[in-house]
């Protein structure tokens, strides 16, 4: 059966801490009409990816920011935010490194 496209192709930037889930690719593409659909599509291509960006209640946890064209989606409509062809998503986790990992500075 021929696959049916359900939305616009969107480019997603993957930072290095998450890149192990995308075969070390820093930019991937997925289809969807909303941010949530794009993230779900990513999970189909890269099984396990959803475990990084969703909590147990299928919400994006607050230590991860998802940016649509440089604006965090909580400032838009969350994962219901509509996406358009050519939009760019970025999934950015909080980082704590600065000192050593066992004390004060990474």
């Amino acid at each position: 059966m021929k696959a049916t496209r359900i939305g616009m192709p969107v480019s997603i930037y993957i930072p290095s801490p998450f890149r192990r889930m995308t075969a070390n690719r820093e930019n991937v593409t997925a289809d969807g009409s909303t941010v949530g659909e794009v993230l779900d599509a990513l999970e189909r291509v890269y099984p396990g990816f959803a475990n990084l960006v969703y909590d147990d209640d299928h919400r994006v946890p607050t230590h991860i920011n998802v940016y649509l064209n440089n604006t965090e989606i909580h400032d838009l409509d969350g994962i219901e935010t509509k996406v358009a062809d050519g939009d760019q998503l970025a999934i950015i986790p909080a980082l704590a490194g600065g000192s050593d990992g066992d004390g004060e500075a990474a």
Binding site: S16, E26, A94, A96, G98, A106
Partner: protein, 285 residues
């Protein structure tokens, strides 16, 4: 609110004019800007990967007082990236080797040592003595603590973080957004690895630390457009820099319209992390 340093101290000595001539010759600095740098006091949290290059460039530039908060000792595994410490410093207190290195680079600067972990009990007292705070902490509990203390004390916070090949940097001015606006809650313990667990490219500390030092200079000099309301993302593997919008969240528990965090809290409990072991605390200049 701006923390731009506006004091106008006495004239520069001939030696200072020569030492800082490449700065003074720039119209954005000049003799007045150099005197602002000399009058400035900057607190650096951590004398490790990020704090090292930050403190180094602050010292080279003649920032008058540099405070260091650090309680750790130098480990062999630090020397891949931590520029203030050398092989002979292994097992010595980082804060001592950091002070020696900074003063060797520039004897004009005063290096104040806070040989202790920063905690809810001492943060406000330590921060009160400084114009600007720079964050080079390696754990989430300290990051939220420093964020809250800086907001409550009305201090500008120059923030930076690193992991693997990635870095992040921004500037928080009180009332224009804070770390809690960016990341309201810490990740569950163990979910985001530390540099010790996942690794970090040594030179990314230099990139992000230099960016943090640059932001400090801009704040002191009142020049340029700082990273306030912007999160800078550095990807060293692709060598691409991105900036994301960062806004004050009206619902932020610290700096929002109806704050619920009005004093420092138990950040180990907030982050679900075990408390740090406390060595004996000393503060010296």
């Amino acid at each position: 609110m701006s923390n731009e340093v506006s004091r106008a101290p006495e004239a520069l000595s001939p030696e200072e004019v020569m030492r800082y001539s490449r700065h003074i010759i720039m119209p954005q600095v000049g003799p007045q800007g150099q005197r602002k740098l000399r009058s400035a006091s900057v607190l650096v949290i951590g004398a490790g990967g990020l704090g090292g290059p930050v403190a180094l460039y602050l010292a080279l530039a003649g920032v008058g007082k540099i405070g260091l908060v650090e309680f750790d000792t130098v480990d062999l595994s630090n020397l891949q990236r931590q520029v203030l410490h050398q092989t002979a410093d292994i097992d010595r207190p980082k804060i001592v080797s950091a002070k020696e290195t900074l003063e060797a680079y520039n004897p004009h600067v005063q290096v104040a040592m806070h040989h202790m972990p920063i905690t809810s009990d001492n943060a406000m007292e330590i921060i009160a003595d400084y114009d600007i705070v720079v964050n080079g902490a390696d754990n989430f509990a300290t990051r939220y603590l420093v964020n809250d203390a800086c907001y409550l004390a009305g201090k500008t916070l120059v923030d930076g973080a690193i992991l693997l090949f990635d870095g992040q940097a921004t500037v928080y001015e009180p009332g224009k957004g804070c770390y809690r606006c960016l990341y309201p809650d810490p990740p569950p313990p163990g979910l985001v690895p530390s540099c010790a667990e996942a690794g970090v490219l040594g030179s990314i500390t230099g990139i992000v630390g230099s960016i943090q030092a640059t932001e400090v200079f801009k704040v002191i000099l009142g020049q340029g457009k700082t990273l306030v309301n912007r999160l800078l993302l550095v990807d060293a593997l692709t060598m691409e820099f991105r900036t994301m919008k960062l806004r004050r969240d009206p619902n932020c528990p610290l700096c929002g319209d109806h704050p619920t965090v009005t004093e420092l809290i138990d950040y180990d409990a907030f982050c679900g992390s075990p408390p740090l072991e406390m060595p004996a605390a000393t503060t010296t200049a």
